[in-house]
């Protein structure tokens, strides 16, 4: 524990202490300019890393928010007489608001469409900055004077310290955010957006919030940028800078505050690197040697594909040869960035800090902080009194896909406290039915109600919030997270500290409580010892149990289990039956889809059989099993007599 604290916090403290002390040693205007730029880029890249790293989306709009922040500050100071502090507050707020506005439509998209939308936004911003001449001065540019900070005129060192202080604040706020429920939600929605919604976390709103937050940091960096250069031009905030910023994040290492700062060093130094040919040659030679060594190692150990190993060697080789042949390196600036970025993206996709942290954590063996004692089960999963009244009701429910009537008018009543089985041959509409009930699909017709109140149609997120939790036939775990974190994401009624306080680091007590609650649920399904195991490393059976634990973290009234025993080996089936029975004993109403007839017979109070999207039989398990229509659905009409004889 102490070792961890010393190493992790110690390194952070050392970084900022050194950065703060540097002006005392090197106070040439040149060095001060570089350091200031480094702090500004640090803030900008931490903001960019929110989308690129944590949301996993290529964001080409950060440069637009830099521009918006810069112009907000510039225009505010020159035309409206804003002070320094006011400008530093307004610029990020404006960027954040515009970020949210862009994110609302853009984040309904994934991958290429999102990148395209952000690229268009950048182009739009540049055009507007250029064309609104009465406000921004257009292509002529905008000159401004840095206003005093609370009456003090800031010299170069003073302004640098201001930037550094803001970087430190952003760093700490970001660290608090990422180690909270919010950080886990970001991680979760990248692994499985569907499960994130189904756990009542709200993929979309988290994405929009994250994007707006990152944009706000872009705006803050922009305001500092304006006060640093004191001259603004729309051409600064264009595509090329976007690519350089991405280079910074990727080379530094995604999903890492250290990575963002390392990337900022690189971005700040890059123009200087190109201004001296010797420096550039030395640097590219070093890059070539590193790439060659990595390639040789990767190929010898067969850990890298040939392309992955050789492409960076070729790219850096071109850099070296080009550096020898071409004298005007500045003219080839973009090609040089491109080759560097290419080598990094292909050869070192996890970035410098990703690589370093893997190496360091292996070398130093930093133990994670110990877990708290599990909470009492009654607190995490309070027993419900079950009165056998109708809880979940389906009326004339329909879902058609084009001409296919997957669910075609189903009436179903699930009583509180019961385990209600849903059986039927493949393609009978069971999965579609629970997908409609849980909100993944919008019904074509009919209604679903819980305790007489209609359930929200077509929203996993709002259905989950209404008290219906589910598991998935094809597992939808957050594979990159530990078992404990998987459960923590879904916990209900635990996270109450509002976001601003979380940023200030006041959410720690809540975190301990969440860990204790999640641990109790893991123990409930027999995974207490696996709390720290990443979900992807669990056995298949354990993964199925974990999905149930995660769904229980919602404290659900109704739990929908979609083939919980599918693919399990016999001992795990036995365990699974035992778990489901204990869940039921806590008063949770269960809808169980299952193919294992023995599981259904052991567990279910009532069974409904579906075929062709309609109900063909309903009753006690043994009744339904013998129902002629059910036998016909499973085995076909001709086989009826033999099956009857065998049964």
């Amino acid at each position: 524990m102490l070792k961890r604290l010393l190493l992790v916090r110690g390194a952070e403290t050392a970084l900022f202490a050194v950065l703060a002390a540097l002006p005392l040693a090197a106070h040439s205007p040149y060095a001060m300019g570089l350091l200031t730029l480094l702090a500004i880029y640090g803030i900008l890249l931490i903001g960019l890393d929110v989308t690129v790293g944590y949301l996993g989306q290529v964001n080409l709009a950060q440069v637009a928010f830099l521009g918006i922040g810069a112009y907000a500050a510039g225009v505010g100071v020159t035309r409206y007489g804003l002070g320094l502090v006011a400008a530093l507050v307004i610029a990020p707020l404006l960027a954040m608001a515009l970020g949210a506005l862009l994110a609302l439509p853009a984040l309904r998209l994934e991958g290429p469409q999102f990148a395209l939308a952000t690229l268009s936004f950048t182009a739009l911003t540049t055009t507007v900055l250029n064309e609104l001449e009465w406000l921004t001065g257009g292509a002529q540019g905008l000159s401004l004077d840095r206003p005093p900070l609370l009456g003090h005129r800031l010299g170069p060192a003073g302004f640098y310290w201001l930037c550094l202080a803001l970087l430190l604040l952003v760093w700490m706020a970001m660290r608090n955010l990422l180690s909270s429920q919010w950080g886990r939600a970001f991680e979760a929605l990248r692994d499985s957006p569907i499960a994130t919604d189904a756990m009542g976390v709200g993929t979309y709103r988290h994405k929009v919030a994250a994007f707006a937050f990152g944009s706000g940091l872009g705006g803050l960096a922009g305001a500092l940028y304006a006060f640093n250069f004191q001259y603004l031009q729309p051409q600064t905030y264009v595509y090329e800078l976007t690519v350089i910023l991405l280079l910074g994040v990727v080379l530094g290492g995604r999903k890492s505050l250290w990575g963002a700062v390392v990337g900022a060093v690189l971005v700040a130094l890059l123009p200087n690197l190109l201004s001296s040919r010797t420096l550039f040659l030395g640097f590219s030679m070093a890059g070539f040697l590193v790439a060659a060594a990595t390639a040789a190692r990767g190929l010898a150990r067969r850990t890298a594909r040939p392309f992955q190993a050789l492409a960076p060697v070729v790219a850096t080789g071109v850099l070296v040869v080009g550096g020898l042949l071409v004298h005007a390196t500045e003219d080839w600036r973009k090609a040089i960035f491109a080759l560097m970025l290419f080598s990094v993206v292909v050869g070192l996709p996890e970035g410098l800090m990703g690589f370093a942290s893997r190496f360091l954590s292996r070398a130093l063996r930093i133990a994670p902080p110990p877990l708290p004692a599990p909470s009492p089960l009654d607190q995490v999963l309070p027993p419900r009194a079950a009165g056998r009244e109708v809880l979940l009701e389906l009326r004339e429910l329909k879902r058609h896909f084009g001409g296919v009537r997957a669910v075609d008018g189903v009436d179903l009543s699930v009583r509180a406290g019961e385990i209600h089985g849903l059986i039927g041959p493949n393609g009978s509409g069971k999965s579609t039915l629970v997908n409609v009930v849980s909100g993944l699909y919008t019904p074509t017709g009919g209604a679903v109600s819980l305790r007489g109140a209609p359930l929200p149609a077509g929203s996993l997120f709002r259905t989950a919030r209404a008290g219906v939790a589910r598991t998935f036939q094809n597992l939808q775990l957050f594979v990159g997270m530990t078992a404990l974190e998987n459960v923590m994401v879904a916990l209900r009624d635990v996270y109450r500290v509002p976001l601003p306080l979380v940023l200030l680091g006041l959410g720690r007590a809540e975190e301990r409580r969440a860990q204790a609650d999640a641990l109790a649920l893991l123990e409930f399904v027999g995974l207490g010892a696996e709390a720290r195991t990443p979900a992807k490393d669990l056995t298949y059976g354990a993964q199925r149990f974990l999905e149930i634990a995660r769904a229980l973290a919602r404290k659900p009234e109704v739990l929908i289990l979609d083939e919980p025993a599918a693919g399990l080996a016999h001992p795990d089936v036995v365990k699974q039956v035992e778990i489901i029975r204990r869940v039921s004993q806590r008063g949770v109403t269960i809808v169980l889809i299952e193919h294992h007839m023995d599981v259904v017979s052991q567990l279910c109070d009532v069974v409904t059989a579906l075929d062709g999207g309609r109900i063909i039989a309903e009753g006690r398990p043994d009744e339904v099993k013998r129902h002629p229509k059910v036998i016909e659905a499973y085995l076909g009409a001709a086989a009826e007599s033999q099956a009857g004889a065998a049964g």
């Binding site: 439509p105 469409q113 739009l124 003219d331 290419f342």
Partner: protein, 292 residues
């Protein structure tokens, strides 16, 4: 009189819009097979145009310049696939977005240094004297754009529908893994689509150069609008891009007439963001059913 100006603006804008549609069609080709697109497509348009201009300067006849230009574009497309896309697809990651951006940046810088930063005219045997159709001036150059665009899109669609190779294309587009199991090499199909997409980009460059001149930045605005067209129409919509492209071209031409040329790009960008808000899969795109 003003009415006929608007008609004129609409028609010439819509004809330029066909170039957006053609570039957007290039995105569709690769998106169909690999769910990826080349973010550096604009640079392919530009470099192919420069290459063709060099051939013209060398004195080659136009009839030879066009096929050689298309071939060059196809080779560039293949290079992009090899260097930027294949690895990412194998790893099922979205690294190709970054990598194709990077390759585009490299091509841009190379073009700047090889051919210079200035815009140069592109000589063409097609005359540019306007003739009148229903009171609207149309130049043979603009007609050549329309003919070229429809000819190549029609040809590729015929190939896709009428040949075995086309069936393989459709198969991989539908389900890459199932296609592989049926003995179709998905990698080769993706290569084919990138080659075709590169050739389409080169054609766009050759068709548009006589109208816009050739320069390193000639395609950056074009491709941005092609992105808008592709997303608004839907990346899997076939001929939807033609309608959206022509609409956007006309809209733009009217906007620059009314608001000033600096605002030319704005309607397209707004249209894109609005369309995303209303229909994320595009106007002509198919809604995807999520399965769990």
């Amino acid at each position: 009189m003003p009415l006929s100006i608007y008609a004129q603006m609409t028609v010439s804008g819509a004809l330029i819009g066909l170039i957006y549609a053609l570039i957007a069609y290039g995105f569709q080709l690769t998106y169909a097979t690999s769910k990826s697109i080349n973010f550096g497509q604009g640079e392919l348009v530009m470099v192919s145009a420069f290459f063709s201009l060099t051939l013209v300067d060398l004195g080659l006849p136009y009839a030879l310049v066009v096929p050689l230009g298309l071939l060059f574009g196809a080779l560039l497309g293949l290079a992009v696939e090899r260097a930027g896309v294949r690895l990412a697809l194998e790893q099922k990651s979205e690294g190709w977005i970054l990598l194709t951006i990077i390759i585009g940046l490299f091509l841009f810088s190379a073009a700047e240094n090889i051919w210079g930063r200035d815009d140069r005219p592109f000589p063409t045997p097609i005359p540019s004297d306007a003739f009148q159709v229903l009171g609207v001036d149309v130049t043979p150059l603009e007609v050549s754009v329309a003919v070229g665009v429809f000819a190549v899109m029609g040809l590729i669609e015929l190939l896709k529908r009428g040949t075995l190779l086309g069936k393989a294309f459709e198969a991989v587009a539908n389900d890459r893994d199932a296609g592989e199991l049926m003995g179709i090499s998905a990698t080769r199909t993706v290569m084919l689509s990138y080659g075709l997409s590169g050739a389409v980009a080169a054609l766009a460059g050759i068709l548009v150069s006589p109208i816009t001149t050739v320069g390193p930045t000639m395609a950056s605005a074009l491709v941005l609008k092609a992105f808008s067209v592709a997303v608004v129409a839907g990346l899997d919509s076939g001929f939807g891009v033609v309608l959206v492209g022509m609409f956007l071209g006309a809209l733009e031409s009217l906007a620059s007439f009314q608001l000033g040329s600096g605002w030319r790009e704005v309607p397209g960008l707004l249209l894109l963001i609005l369309a995303l808000a209303v229909r994320p899969t595009g106007l002509f795109g198919k809604a995807v059913i999520r399965k769990v």
